[in-house]
Amino acid sequence: MSASDVSVGAFLGASLKRQLLLAYRRPVDTINPLLFFLLVVTLFPLGIGPDPSQLAEFAPGILWIVALLASLMAAEGMFRQDYEDGSLEQLLLSPQPLYLASLTYTAAHWLVTGLPLTLLSPLFATMLQLPVAALPVLMMSMLLGTAILSLVGSIGAALTVSLKRGGMLISLIIVPLYIPVLIFAAGAVRFAAGGFDPQPQLLLLAGMLSLAVALAPFAISAGLRISVDAG
Amino acid sequence: MYFDSLQAALTMDGHGIYVWSVVVVSVLVTAGLLVLPARSARRFIAGLGVDEAPAPKAAPSVRIEEVNNAPGS
């Protein structure tokens, strides 16, 4: 690896460490999505009724809709802090490739929001009477799906970070792009719960993830440059 | 014509209400698409002719005043 590769690698490592350190020192950003998930999941039995068979039937859809809303909520404030204290400007001025930096920022964001959701999803699933057989597929779909949601979410965050009331706007922009993830992820869990083979859906999710990993950083970088420029 | 009378064309044996409401909506949308921008352009031009040219707002001018307080710069 030439000298510049070493410095890029060091930069990405330092950025990841910095974001995780910030998340560690501000645990509310990590806990909020999980609390939101728990809160909303408890609403469904109260709304639909506690009957286990009915809950079990809706569980895949409920779990994934709530996961989508939780990651949407988490995505909104993703670059807000960096934008306000000026460190986003410094990131844009750095000679390091913004494409990789955006990917690193999103990866750090996913580690703080998507991964915890994935790890805790069996707990929420059992609350909704999801058959145990479907739990591994649920976690697999969460692992892939929340990563896509983070990548797409950060595109919306990058495009709206300079706007004062970006909240509502970001959901209008991103939710349509979340729909394919919802369809295949919830579909995979429903197949698994019904005893069918969920592999096609999971493979499609993996395909979407690779597309998102490859293309999203372009949109994120462009969005960040525009937002800082407009700010 | 497929229908033997105007009356038959209107009722389209029961489905007329739906078909013709779609026609009405389509006409409204088409009219909206064509008339609105044309009218706003016409109004804009008319508006221009009335008020006198808005004075170009004074852009802060840049006076480059090279003050070299040391020789040989």
Binding site: G13, L22, D85, G86, E89, L92, D229 | V62, V67, A70
Partner: protein, 183 residues
Amino acid sequence: MEGLDLDISAGNMVLIEGPNGSGKTTLLRSLAGLSRLGLTGSIARDCDELLYLGHRAGIKQLLTPRENLVWACRSQGWNPDTIDSALERVGLSGRADVLCQHLSAGQQRRVNLARLYLSFEHQHPRTLWLLDEPFTAIDRDGVTSLAATMAQQVQRGGAVVLTSHQDLPLDIPLRRLVLGGAA
């Protein structure tokens, strides 16, 4: 602001003066390449290193000065070995590991300023420093040491463009760019 034709070359120290709202910060941000909107014409920049110190400190409140500067070094591609001396120069060596949120506004600005000393100690000749009001909230000997550093950097072949309301205690050639208010 129209009709600006500015050519800054190595060894130039340019002071941008003018009342507030005359576009000083916008000009600096345009030179840094941060703002391109509403810009007709072109900006060409040929330097190996760019440092922009804006109004916003660009540091994270929840990190210590050292952690902030480690990231700043990495983002410029340097390895963070000169942090302690940079903090020393801005008089923050004692508070290197205190969270920035516990520092005063002035101290936080000096953390930002430490990045200038990092760039200086990195001794890369072809650097462009864009400094927005670097002297605010800095005590007298801080100002003189900063001014001296800028002078050295310019003599070494760097270029410095800064905005300031105070007059500079400098004896090297200075180009003044006066932005008139709404004349």
